[in-house]
């Protein structure tokens, strides 16, 4: 079972829900928590533990200037403007390269080979006896999050119960996180912003064919617009977390709601049951 936690709008509480869900599940079974918000991973703040790291690399072209005759085919082929062929040399812009490998295929002289370039790391930790934490970290200045997310997901592909914390938004990093998941928890807040971005996120899960349910966080009780939207789109509100200073205090000191207020363990257990029901499994 792979469950992604996404939101559309940032700051709604994805990480809070993912961390507490994983903590709750780890009380009774082995669970893997994956931080796919690789531009600003933060799950390790809730689960401090020693970690080991592995580099994530992507292939980038290296041109042998001795063989290259500046024919220009690679520059014409590259849709991303990463290669520009001049009279006397070829300019390469690594930050524009999408690592598609096309330049190596179109070069008639076989003057291009690929070498790995580091774009980030994936760390592995075991903060609790039954909880593995895998976090992706994109290197600063690198524009492509997807290869790091993919590496973090690949590292956990064989695990039976995986919770994936997505980045905010609805673009490539979120799509990459959701790809292959069995269910998605969409965390929202009852603000116009929260609802607007929830609608976008619901569209993404629908297009990917991933069953989704809703968690309303920081509810001030005025959730009618969100509830109406969910009703109209046949989405279940699986959990509502109140707007509560005490909860915020627990969260902001890096603690877990379910560890401090153990009555929440039951609620997060129930949330997992509802996710399983979404997929049609027991």
């Amino acid at each position: 079972m792979k469950i992604a936690v996404a939101s559309g709008k940032g700051g709604t509480g994805k990480t809070m829900v993912a961390a507490n869900l994983a903590f709750t599940l780890s009380q009774t079974c082995q669970v893997t928590l994956v931080d796919c918000d690789v531009e600003e991973p933060n799950l390790h703040l809730f689960f401090p533990a020693p970690a080991t790291a592995k580099d994530v690399t992507v292939p980038v072209p290296v041109i042998d200037e001795k063989i290259c005759d500046r024919c220009g085919k690679c520059g014409e082929f590259c849709q991303y403007g990463a290669l520009t062929v001049l009279r006397d040399r070829v300019l390469f812009f690594p930050e524009l390269c999408h690592s598609c490998g096309g330049c190596t295929l179109v070069c008639p002289k076989n003057a291009i080979h690929e070498e790995p370039k580091r774009v980030g790391i994936v760390t592995y930790a075991k903060p609790l006896p039954r909880l593995d934490l895998v976090s992706g970290y994109l290197d600063t200045g690198n524009p492509f999050a997807v290869p790091v997310i993919r590496a973090a997901k690949t590292a956990t592909a064989g695990d039976s119960l995986v919770i994936l914390d997505a980045s905010p938004g609805t673009s490539c990093p979120v799509v990459e996180t959701l790809d292959g998941c069995d269910a998605c928890i969409l965390v929202t807040e009852s603000t116009p912003f929260g609802l607007h971005d929830l609608q976008l996120a619901v569209d993404v899960t629908a297009r990917l064919g991933i069953p989704a349910g809703i968690v309303i966080n920081r509810s001030d009780g005025k959730d009618q617009a969100t509830l109406d939207f969910c009703m109209n789109h046949d989405l279940e509100v699986m959990m509502t977390i109140p707007f509560d200073r005490g909860i915020a205090t627990i969260q902001s000191r890096g603690d877990l709601l379910c560890r401090v207020r153990t009555e929440w363990l039951k609620a997060f257990s129930a949330l997992y049951g509802k996710c399983c029901a979404l997929t049609g499994a027991e």
Binding site: G81, A82, L86, R89, L91
Partner: protein, 111 residues
Amino acid sequence: MKICITSQGATLDALAEERFGRAPFFIIVETDTGSFDAIENQFAGGSGGVGPKAAQLIMAHKVTALVSGMVGGNAREVLLAAGIQLYTYRAGGTVRDALDQFNKKTLEHVA
């Protein structure tokens, strides 16, 4: 000599465009005769890397100088490596005005 002026339209009376890579048109002018060609920039709406692609496009027309509002870092690197002179025109007027100012040598020579 041949120069390129970034433009919002296909004529000398169109407004000069301040952006280089996303300029809708490149007006290639032969300054000795005043004759010109308008080249549509097929990369103007691209998602990324449009600077180097556009630079490649105008390089192919063998221009000596480029007149534009601002040129991004990647495009600038390509244009300088290709030996193209960069001039800034940000007066908000037409291509014809930019050309006049270029001929009068009143434009800022960036590199």
